[in-house]
């Protein structure tokens, strides 16, 4: 696959679809969470309003260059992650820039935004930001491990590191999905997924009651808007990888919407049921429950 200029508008279209889907889905999920708590919840268009308001705010300050660049790093990470992986299987329109690199690129690019954001937050000089980063990094080292193992396991299973080829191998009936051909890997990866969506029980990084929202504490107005945009794109970009690797990918947009929603709901369900872990607890939890599954999946594949 080679680069053609037409891919740029295609990629922008893709981005547009994802942003809208993400805004709506996040609001919907928030509403579900509210209903579980016997509250009414936000209107379904609330995220649009928030985003427009924050982009429109004119009062803003900066703590320095890295502080300024932090949200840019963050959003570049989200957008880049989305565009390095094909969104819709078999569609030239929505294959994005996946010719640049394979699964490994995607896995390591996840850290691009995280790292940039952490640097920006750190320059704000706010201790809550630094604490949030400390917690987040500590947790992510162990939370990402089962995913890495699962990815290794299925790369061995399919003998390729190309996302497209992995999706291709799962076509022809849902029994061909990795979910059924390599359930251990999927289980490990889904547990790992819980650790990366900033929902309970693994949301001590933001921990609204102790370190008011952690890393983004000092961010406001358009900075915050960029990060909100990322909050919309990034989880979906990540779920695209999960969907492609474990759940047969998506050959059309409706299938895509459905699968992404269901994957997300998995984390939401668990989040509304369980209380928050402290960092060392969550590290131990991943080490004891998720990592062995990953190891088994690698050994048995």
């Amino acid at each position: 696959m080679q680069f053609e200029w037409i891919q740029i508008p295609y990629a922008l279209l893709n981005l547009f679809i994802i942003i809208n889907f993400g805004l709506l889905m996040n609001a919907f999920v928030a509403k579900i969470g509210a209903r579980v708590g016997r509250r009414h919840g936000i209107p379904i268009y609330q995220n649009y309003l928030d985003l427009i308001k924050n982009y429109g705010l004119r009062s803003s300050i900066t703590h320095g260059v890295m502080f300024y660049l932090g949200p840019v790093f963050r959003l570049s990470g989200g957008v880049g992650l989305l565009l390095f992986v094909p969104t819709i299987y078999g569609s030239d329109m929505f294959s994005n820039f996946s010719f640049s690199g394979d699964l490994i690129l995607a896995l390591y690019f996840i850290f691009f935004g995280t790292l940039g954001m952490a640097l920006g937050a750190a320059e704000s000089g706010h201790p809550h930001a630094a604490m949030g980063v400390s917690r987040g990094l500590s947790q992510v080292t162990m939370a990402e491990l089962p995913l890495a193992l699962a990815v290794f396991s299925i790369a061995l299973q399919y003998q390729t590191l190309s996302v497209t080829e992995i999706v291709a191998a799962q076509q022809g009936g849902f029994l061909n999905w990795t979910l059924f051909t390599n359930p251990l890997a999927v289980a490990a990866a889904m547990l790992s997924f819980l650790g990366s969506v900033m929902r309970p029980p693994f949301d001590v990084v933001l921990a609204p009651q102790e370190i008011p929202i952690g890393p983004p504490t000092e961010y406001h107005s358009s900075y915050l808007a960029l990060m909100q945009t990322n909050r919309v794109i990034y989880p979906i970009a990540k779920m695209v990888i999960f969907m492609s690797l474990f759940f047969g990918g998506a050959t059309s947009w409706p299938v895509f919407f459905l699968k992404i929603f269901l994957i997300y709901m998995f984390a939401v369900f668990i989040g509304v049921v369980f209380p928050r872990f402290r960092v060392e607890q969550s590290i131990r939890w991943f080490l004891i429950w998720a990592v062995p599954l990953g190891i088994l999946s690698v050994l048995l594949v």
Binding site: S76, L105, F109, L115, G125, T141
Partner: protein, 1046 residues
């Protein structure tokens, strides 16, 4: 040819004639004595000419005009000549050195000195046992007399103890001679040797035993040598020099050698065992000594023990015997005499008191030359000798002897270099420094010894069957900086850089692609780091010889073709880097630890090569592939552990953090970014030639895989919890080297590419990070990260370097670290092992923790009040960092530039499982990677979003970090607001149990045990003459029971 009798006549005659002058004309007597010694030296020197240039064979000189057994004959050959010359020269130089004491005690002392020298010459020259006895008696009495030269009151007691022991010895010797005469009817040694088979039966064997033990005792074997130590400790250092070099080194040892003619093969093992025991035990006991002269005494006993052990190997050494024994003996004699002479300059007797030498670079050079000589380091004769010895021992499977010799050598190097550390690092007490007696005649004596030391180094290089190390251009280049050390730093720095770059381009055509990568890192990479050295002002005495020695070693390592060249290069780079590390302000214990581990590793490498060569000389490195089973895996094991010591694999890593962290600003990147690669280079040579090896059914590369993974994991984990920035980087190096080791041990082409990727990347980013952190530490005056913070605005360039560095280390795209990760995944896909990968998976993300901590706690967060006016790091420290930033970016975009050729070069070794380099895209069997599109896509996205933010946020107002609200209050001070100390507290709660310092405790306990053992055994020497006599008797009886009695 001058008759040998003249030596005796001159010595004895002058000794008597001095009496005529009386004590009123001491000066004249002194001149006469010197004149006599010079005449004796001249005679020996004239022989030297005859035996070397004219290649004469040995000559017998008859004293009474008839041949033995009717008269005594003196024999002169090359060995006798050299030994006699050694004795006389040590006597002459010591006589000059002891001028004050000799003049004070008058002509009698001078006569005794002459008698002493004459007697030692006699011991060496005579071939008659009774004559031998007479000369020994003379030497003993003279010794007792010369002990009075000392100011130390204990010398008198030591003399008495010596006399007691000598009585016993004489008794045995006389008894032996009587019985031997009875058994053989001759007193001539060669005559007895002819009859040795008959003589060694019945009464004759007892006779020989008595004679032999008596002579052997004069060589001070452990444990019957307490008296000797008391002499060494209390005598005048000038006399100790003669005693150690002449009496113990030359005369007694040669007497033993003569008697072995009679004893023959049967007695060689006895000498070996006693020699080895003395060598190891003396060096062990020396570990706990604090008195300088006693330490030297122990060392002396050890060295003589080593020579005895070599003597016991006569049966296998053949024509190499003289080269080996001579190399060790002369090294010992010159070095020990030199050290004793230096000790005379110093007032106090503790080893730590030698720190007064610090202001004297020439004396320090002398000291280094001497201890290098004793430790068997190149280019000194003992190095060549030990190499040959080890090769011969391994070829006939005398491995336990080899093991003990290396063990003893390691112990010896440990305490000698610990001592050197004291000199450079311990506090100087002012009044002591003023008491340093630098009389010019004493200094001249010492420097003559230095000149002789280097002359011998050259001579042994010429005599050896290998290239003369002193003629290798890189070594000459490094040594030339010793002469240039008076120049200012910038001139020397320019010369060094020019030399390294020029050498690279000269040698360029001879490198293969793999060597080329290392050569670029060692030579060009070294030159880039040296740019930072322009920052240093003044003369920086000692820096350039050390640094250039290290680089010379590295250069020679890449070019080495046979095992000798490789090992010599290895030793050079070890010594050079040790001196470099030792320059750090607080690096004394760390440098020592580094040296001990490195030398131990080097000895393993030496044994590995010896075992592999099986006597083949020269042994080319390619021949490693032809080493046969069953020894092949053992060779592999020894070499691999040796190399892994250098890469600081977990378990052998404890030297690294201190050594790298405490080194100077521009030294840390050299020893981390560059030096660590030497170990990887060795491993590559090893693996490329020997491939996979199995030992007891266990695949050794599989164990290496685990070790690499463990190092990566634990190295990273330990880095997370460091507060000291340079220590953090040092631990990170352990992790990074673990990755590289892991890649190599995968034993597939991609694994090797990954390792090379780490070699290149680690050089660039670790050098860069060490320089940045070093620059920051220079400005802030601390390395504790929590004491910094918010420095981004003050030191933006350093920040950029660290930022680029940590992105590259962490492996986040688009920088070059990602390439390493990508190749890693492809490499493990092709590998059959899966379990060790898990550890690598864990260690990857852990790197984020310490990297973030590094940049956050130094550059981000709250700026402290005392740092508000701090400046950017000095230009010369920033410049190389900016070069590295450029290099990292370039390497990220076009990794193929460096890797493509190596990939092709590796193809034949791994049956072409490499990568396809197709335009911008690199593909493997499993995936693909296009660095340029990645870079472009990320750059475009980033730039677009940045523009967008600039547009919507164009009126942003800049405020300081402290302008925040924290828990609804204004924070109190930046110090209390900067969240930095114990940054990963929750992580420590979860994972901290994994970094208990088990390894450090293990090695500490090991060292403790050695010291305790030494301390217990040391008590054996009670200082009581009677006890010593009993010990001597017991020693003789034990040997008798073992050897003769049963």
């Amino acid at each position: 040819m001058v008759n040998a009798l003249f030596i005796i006549i001159i010595g004895l005659g002058t000794a008597f004639l001095l009496g005529l002058l009386g004590n009123t004309r001491r000066n004249i007597a002194y001149v006469f004595m010197l004149f006599a010694l010079t005449a004796m030296a001249w005679i020996a020197h004239s022989w030297l000419w005859i035996f070397t240039i004219d290649a004469h064979s040995r000559v017998d000189m008859f004293t009474a005009g008839t041949a033995p057994p009717f008269a005594i004959n003196l024999r002169v050959g090359i060995v006798e000549t050299v030994l006699v010359l050694l004795v006389i020269m040590s006597g002459l130089l010591s006589a000059v050195y002891m001028k004050d004491a000799l003049l004070r005690l008058g002509y009698k002392s001078m006569s005794v000195l002459l008698v002493f020298v004459m007697a030692l010459c006699g011991i060496i020259l005579t071939r008659d046992v009774f004559n031998l006895f007479v000369f020994f008696e003379l030497a003993v009495i003279a010794t007792a007399g010369l002990l009075l030269l000392s100011d130390d009151k204990r010398a008198l007691a030591a003399g008495f103890k010596y006399l007691i022991i000598s009585q016993l010895v004489s008794m045995f010797l006389l008894l032996g001679i009587i019985f031997a005469y009875h058994a053989t009817g001759t007193l001539n040694i060669d005559g007895m040797a002819e009859q040795s088979p008959e003589m060694l039966k019945g009464i004759g064997s007892l006779a020989f035993f008595f004679m032999f033990m008596a002579i052997l005792t004069e060589a001070k074997p452990f444990p019957a040598n307490g008296w000797a130590l008391d002499i060494y400790e209390s005598a005048h250092p000038g006399f100790s020099a003669m005693f150690s070099a002449g009496m113990a080194g030359a005369a007694s040892v040669y007497a033993v050698d003569k008697l072995l003619l009679i004893g023959g093969q049967e007695w060689l093992p006895v000498v070996t065992v006693i020699g080895l025991l003395s060598f190891v035990a003396a060096n062990l006991l020396a570990l706990v000594q604090t008195n300088d002269r006693r330490t030297l005494g122990y060392s002396s006993i050890g060295q003589v023990g080593l020579i005895l052990a070599v003597m016991g190997q006569q049966d296998i050494l053949g024509e190499h015997y003289l080269f080996i024994a001579g190399g060790i003996l002369l090294s010992h004699a010159v070095a020990k005499a030199g050290l004793y002479w230096i000790s005379g300059l110093i007032q106090k007797r503790q080893l730590t008191d030698w720190s007064v030498l610090r202001g004297q670079p020439l004396l320090i050079f002398a000291f280094v030359s001497f201890i290098g000589m004793l430790s068997g380091l190149p280019p000194f004769p003992s190095f060549y000798a030990k190499w040959d010895l080890v090769m011969m021992l391994a070829s006939v499977d005398r491995l336990w002897i080899l093991g003990f010799i290396l063990l003893g050598s390691l112990l010896e190097a440990s305490y000698l270099f610990r001592w050197f550390g004291y000199i450079l690092k311990r506090d100087i007490i002012k009044e002591d420094a003023q008491h340093l007696s630098l009389a010019s005649y004493k200094l001249i004596v010492i420097f003559i010894a230095v000149v002789i030391a280097w002359g011998l180094a050259y001579l042994w290089g010429e005599l050896s069957s290998y290239n003369n190390l002193l003629l290798a251009i890189p070594i000459l280049f490094a040594l030339s900086f010793l002469l240039l050390d008076f120049l200012p730093t910038w001139i020397k720095n320019t010369l060094a850089i020019a030399g390294m770059v020029a050498y690279f381009f000269i040698a360029y055509p001879s490198y293969n692609p793999l060597e080329l990568i290392y050569a670029i890192i060692f030579l060009l990479g070294g030159a880039v780091i040296l740019l930072a050295s322009y920052y240093e002002k003044g003369r920086r005495v000692g820096f350039y010889p050390s640094a250039m020695l290290m680089f010379a070693g590295l250069t020679l390592l890449v070019m080495a073709e046979n095992s000798f060249q490789f090992f010599a290069a290895w030793e050079f780079l070890t010594i050079g880097s040790y001196f470099l590390i030792l320059r750090g302000k607080y690096s004394e214990p760390h440098a020592l630890l580094y040296l001990i581990f490195s030398l131990a590793g080097a000895y393993l490498i030496l044994s590995g090569f010896a075992l592999a060569a099986q006597g083949m000389i020269p042994f080319s490195l390619e021949s490693l592939s032809q080493v046969a089973q069953p020894i092949a895996p053992w060779v592999f094991l020894l070499l691999a552990i040796g190399f892994m010591t250098k890469t600081a694999v977990i378990g052998l890593h404890i030297w690294l953090p201190g050594a790298h962290a405490e080194a100077e600003t521009d030294v840390s990147p050299m020893v981390s970014g560059i030096l660590l690669k030497a170990g990887l280079f060795g491993l590559m040579i090893l693996l490329m030639n020997m491939g996979k090896q199995q030992l007891y059914g266990v695949e050794l590369t599989y164990i290496m895989l685990w070790l690499g993974a463990l190092s990566a994991f634990l190295g990273n984990l330990m880095a997370v919890f460091q507060e000291d920035a340079k220590r953090l980087l040092a631990y990170s190096s352990i992790g990074q080297m673990g990755y590289a080791l892991f890649g190599l041990a995968l034993m597939n082409q991609l694994g090797w590419l990954m390792a090379l990727m780490f070699v290149i990347n680690h050089y660039i980013y670790k050098s860069m990070l060490f320089l940045s952190v070093g620059g920051v530490a220079k400005r802030t005056g601390t390395r504790q990260m929590y004491q910094m913070g918010g420095l981004i605005a003050m030191m933006p360039l350093s920040f950029i370097a660290v930022l680029i560095g940590i992105i590259a280390v962490s492996g986040v795209p688009p920088l070059s670290g990602f390439g390493g990760r990508w190749i890693f995944y492809n490499a493990i896909m092709a590998s059959e092992y899966r379990l060790p990968m898990m550890l690598i998976f864990i260690s990857g993300p852990i790197a984020f923790l310490y990297l973030f901590r590094l940049i956050h706690t130094i550059f981000l967060g709250q700026l402290k009040d005392e740092h508000r006016k701090i400046k950017e790091a000095p230009f010369w420290i920033i410049l190389p960092q900016m070069i590295y930033v450029t290099a990292l970016l370039a390497f990220a975009v076009v990794p193929g530039m460096a890797l493509h050729r190596v990939d092709n070069y590796l193809n034949p070794f791994f049956a072409g499982q490499g990568l396809n380099w197709d335009g911008w895209t690199i593909t493997s069997n499993y995936g693909y990677w296009s660095p340029v599109p990645i870079m472009i896509v990320i750059a475009v996205i980033f730039a677009t979003l940045f523009m967008w933010l600039l547009f919507v946020n164009r009126k942003a107002q800049k405020v300081k970090q402290f302008n925040i609200v924290y828990s609804a209050e204004r924070p109190y001070r930046p110090e209390t607001t900067h969240f930095a100390w114990n940054f990963f507290a929750p992580y420590r709660k979860a994972m901290g149990f994994l970094i208990q310092p088990f390894v450090t405790r293990f090695w500490e306990t090991f060292a403790d045990l050695l010291h305790t053992l030494a301390d217990i055994v040391r008590r054996f020497y009670t200082g009581n003459g009677q006890t010593y006599a009993v010990q001597l008797l017991a020693f003789i009886i034990v040997i008798y029971l073992f050897k003769v009695g049963y």
